[in-house]
Symmetry: C2
């Protein structure tokens, strides 16, 4: 008997750039929390000090309490099974469908064809036009459907844009810290350079131009070919909603440094303080205010998605990006790149259309839509505020006022004894804290190190999507015990 | 007035590996055919010698004639709008839903939760189990749900697998020629090496081990680190369905050369001659027959999808891959990689479940399902045969008998005068032929050069999905005129 031949692939010989990527949002703690959840689902509570897992680690609204918006789902049901449209009376009189649901489904079927067919690589033309119309309404400036690309969630759009921009290992992208780890992970896989710039926690996690400039100049001095800047607005994980002044500042800096602007605006409707200022809208205003054309060279890619906001349909993987002022030859390469994976999920594309073109006042589905939309918005704001109030009362915890997105990102001052215990456990202090919290309460957070944070500071990110306040109480109680143990 | 500042990105400074990628299936001819289609849709037939565009360039069944399978779509409609389940009597008595449709929808909703929520990164556990059960029934050998990864179509699965295997620019993958250009395009983007091996046209496009070995040895002699071999069975673009002997031969070669086997089996139900032999099933048989363990070291990744077969639901972007004998540490990296883009579309995952677990004999939806399934199968076979008969009669055209998949890939002997005209037009002869065909008939094919072919030979790929025979007549007529002009 010969021994089993060795495998061809092992940890030491696979793609090192994939190995280098980090993605804590779905990392060790998330996996552990799913194991707890499976254990509880089997009725096995042995040795567990909690009866329920709270997944506050990921912005996954419909996994928790958020209900889908009825109008959206009614239309999607008809797109999946168009034969239902042969029974209009039943739909209208017995099943609660309104006439505008039927009209929209028919319009989409006419323009999309079967949702089971591939669409054009960049998305269904009529849906791109509907998005362009939405952008025009939102910003007050024209948008061109030919510059819009449907994508499988915003993540796949980011992947496309970074693939085009990064030419080699020396290409650098300015990425905010803390950041959503999609950016650093994608840059690792691409073997390009992440050029981190810190957001200003003292100013509600706003952008600080001096800091950005310093990061840029340091990278350039090191020979990095810095090509673009990423801004997440409203912020993830920070929850910051940028004032117009910050957006202007970033665009001005991008102009001076000749950087492509990548604006991740998936939380554009999750804004509680002030209002959302789109990069596209502010750029067009700057162009209008400066007829010398100095802003006309800026390239902007802005992203949106059905995953967040009051839509919350992450599982459908719908999204799009709009390109402003990209070279047509570069756009042709983007088109080819997206065509290799054929097209974004077509039912997700339809959901994008519904998101950007919801029922209007006076239309039959409007009232219910408004009620559902506002209900979700208000409830998110209430939960954010309740969580914020709880954090304010916790020893050594400081948290910026909730402004937007679905997250709070408080600082925790972890006592030296706990830092020491973490070191002994071969953990960073924030990891140690979050792991202990998970084991004690079933609440899953993401340690700040998963997003990046200033050296020596400790944070965690929590969504405020989970219903009720009982789980917040669990965090408060755990925190008190933790501090008592290690103070 | 200053002039507009130059853009940061231009064709010369973006990612050269994206530029190097080629993807003819959705290339210039496809774009041109869509322009014709848009022109015709506007009622503008000016100067067009045809009234209809036939997209025979891409395996997109539902864009053409293929209807979705009722059971699948009924279940999906309920998943999209679960409130319909509050009206069971209406569904059953007025809308044509059967009780097993409702049961399946409830089961999926129980196990998936909302289709609007992210699932686990590797897919919904219950769906992975259902796939494992299917594989066990299909192959007669156990399958483990932990080795199954849901993906957004097979394309995204291929992207994942190649990302892990290719460690640097010297990593090589054996790819059949002709091939589906996803492989060469993905390897270009990854900046890894495609090691081409030719299929044997004289043996119905089967695998020829001597040819594979010669390609492998040549690459190794050039210093390439050859790591894996791709097999597409049934073949795309060739339509070949491999006999068990060929599958065994490839596995034996993979064992000797220590290659990971990537089996693209998305056409596994599109088989007209003989039967489908899965790589997993044949590998397990080889292991059983050889208790010395010599086959135990082979790593296999096999892919499947809802896009092809009698399902034909490409727009839903559903698929999966199964890993056999991969190192757990390598699998952990695969899990992390797929988690960066969060999860495959959840409604597409549900469609995978329906595909692998369709209604069984005796269940209420079975009869209609069987009828629809067989109708599609028979009609595809009839169309393939009709097209094959037509090609047999065309001067200078030779075509292998249709065996499987959705394509025919005939050889065309293009007369020297036409080759000369092509050169003058700065085209390859097959491109020239297909472009002229499109302009004359509205039928869009893909030139053989888009898939690779032996030097000096000319082919084209056509799907046999389009209904009717009128378009086949158009090809025959064009071909006659083309030959008369250039003979």
């Amino acid at each position: 008997m010969s021994s089993t031949p060795a495998r061809r692939l092992n940890y030491d010989n696979i793609n090192p750039h994939v190995k280098a990527a980090q993605y804590a949002v779905r990392g060790e703690l998330a996996v552990k929390s799913e194991e707890y959840r499976a254990k509880i689902a089997k009725g096995d509570l042995d040795g567990l000090p909690f009866k329920q897992v709270i997944s506050a680690n990921i912005g996954n609204p419909q996994q928790l309490d958020q209900k889908p918006i009825t109008f959206f789902r009614q239309v999607l049901s008809l797109l999946e099974h168009p034969k239902l449209l042969e029974h209009e009376d039943v739909l209208l009189n017995q099943l609660g469908y309104k006439s505008d649901v039927l009209d929209r489904a028919k319009w989409l079927l006419k323009n999309v064809g079967s949702v089971g067919a591939y669409s054009a690589s960049n998305g269904v033309p009529a849906i791109r036009q509907s998005i362009a119309d939405f952008l025009e309404r939102r910003d007050g400036f024209p948008a061109n459907q030919a510059d819009i690309y449907l994508s499988g969630g915003a993540s796949s759009g980011v992947n496309t844009i970074l693939h085009i921009i990064c030419a080699d290992a020396n290409s650098g992208i300015l990425v905010p810290i803390p950041q959503y780890p999609l950016y650093t992970a994608s840059l690792s896989v691409l073997n390009a350079k992440c050029v981190p710039y810190h957001l200003d926690e003292s100013k509600n996690w706003g952008t600080d131009l001096d800091t950005i400039k310093a990061s840029y100049e340091k990278a350039v001095a090191e020979g990095v070919d810095v090509r673009a800047i990423v801004i997440i607005n409203p912020g993830n994980p920070t929850g910051a909603s940028l004032p117009e002044e910050d957006v202007r500042g970033v665009l001005e800096f991008a102009r001076q440094a000749r950087l492509v602007v990548i604006a991740d605006e998936v939380y554009q409707t999750n804004v509680f303080v002030g209002q959302f200022h789109s990069f596209k809208g502010v750029l067009r205003k700057l162009q209008q205010e400066n007829p010398d054309g100095r802003y006309d060279g800026i390239e902007l890619a802005s992203l949106h998605s059905v995953s967040k906001g009051m839509v919350g349909e992450c599982g459908h993987r719908g999204g799009y990006f709009e390109l402003v002022n990209f070279d047509p030859k570069v756009q042709a390469e983007i088109y080819k790149f997206v065509s290799i994976t054929l097209c974004a999920p077509v039912i997700g594309q339809c959901l994008v259309e519904l998101m950007v073109n919801p029922p209007k006042e006076g239309e039959p589905s409007y009232e219910l839509y408004r009620q559902e939309y506002d209900g979700i918005y208000d409830s998110l704001r209430e939960r954010a505020t309740a969580l914020y109030e709880a954090f304010k009362q916790m020893e050594g915890v400081e948290c910026a006022e909730p402004q937007g997105s679905m997250y709070l990102f408080p600082t925790v001052t972890i006592p030296p004894k706990a830092v020491e215990a973490a070191r002994e456990a071969n953990r960073t202090p924030d990891e140690f804290y979050c792991l202990r919290l998970l084991e004690a309460t079933g609440v899953c957070l993401v340690p700040g190190s998963g997003f990046g944070q200033k050296d020596g500071s400790q944070h965690f990110r929590t969504t405020f999507l989970a219903p009720g306040t009982e789980w917040v109480g669990r965090i408060i109680e755990f925190h008190k015990g933790f501090m008592d143990q290690y103070r």
